[in-house]
Symmetry: C2
Subunit: 143 residues, 2 copies
DNA sequence: CTTGAAATTGATAAACCGTATCAAAAAGAA
DNA sequence: TTCTTTTTGATACGGTTTATCAATTTCAAG
């Protein structure tokens, strides 16, 4: 029995609304994905090669993109690759990214979130989601 | 006579310190770059094709990367391409994006910017650039 | 439990972006 | 001008992601 009942439900709801099918591969990839904070398609390909050596890389890409459409993942470009962030893992958070070594620090700041709401309201918008990434050098890379 | 005396000076200083040469191409690309807030190598390639049809794409990439090293530009991954931001350009802003109609509203919020700096400092980071995008529905699309 | 239309998969070709290569050209100090 | 070093432009290349397509799987209908 899967531990990720809630997210599996979100996926199934999305599949139902779009005439998509629930497959062994999608279940396998979701289970693996939800154990991560963020991962690349290539990393997941190698991780899952043990469980299912015939799982194709294209399927990994397709499925991770599907998760984005279902709201379970968020794609983020860093360096030459795409990171797929697990939205449900730790609740919402934003990222500090070191341009020197690639280190990623997660943070949450209620004041910023509140100001974002203010900006949106002032412009007549209702926020559904947002993305805040701060790029710079970590203490180690600055020296 | 160029309007970008200050930035041309910064470039020449960098060139001098690194045994690099001042070329017609570097001057041409800097002039075009400073007129933009941000641009991709490909966009610049097509823009400059009129002025110099023989200017190579590799030269654009090399030169924009050189500008980054000289502190005149900052590379930022956006979608699948690299955006080169003009750091000397005033009027930094972030974006509100309507997921209904695609409308984009630009905004600037000093309080958010200040809080970003605080978050970075608290984590030992020095910010080079950042990206804040708020996705939601505009007043028209909400109804 | 079948059946069959529609969706999915896996292998791999292709597209795409940015970098490396290298011979010819240009820069710039002497 | 001369001569060494750097730069350029054309293009090959490498890594990442998407497109293609025949074979397989899903799942709703019978
Ligand atoms: Mn946030
Ligand atoms: Mn900003
Ligand atoms: Zn670092
Ligand atoms: Zn709208």
């Amino acid at each position: 029995m899967s531990k990720h009942v809630k997210e599996m439900g979100i996926l199934k709801e999305h599949l139902g609304k779009h005439q998509l099918k629930f497959t062994r591969q999608r279940e396998l990839i979701l289970d693996a994905f939800l154990k991560q904070e963020h991962i690349t398609a290539e990393e997941m390909y190698h991780q899952l090669a043990r469980k299912d050596p015939h799982l194709g890389l294209a399927t990994i890409y397709r499925t991770l993109n599907l998760f984005c459409e279902a709201g379970l993942a968020q794609a983020r470009h860093f360096g030459t690759q795409t990171q797929y962030d697990n939205v449900s893992h730790k609740g919402h958070h934003d990222h500090l990214i070191c341009t020197g070594c690639g280190k990623i620090v997660e943070f949450e700041n209620c004041d910023i979130e509140r100001l974002q709401e203010e900006v949106a309201t002032r412009n007549g918008f209702t926020i559904q989601t947002h993305r805040l990434e701060l790029y710079g050098l970590c203490s180690r890379c600055r020296h």
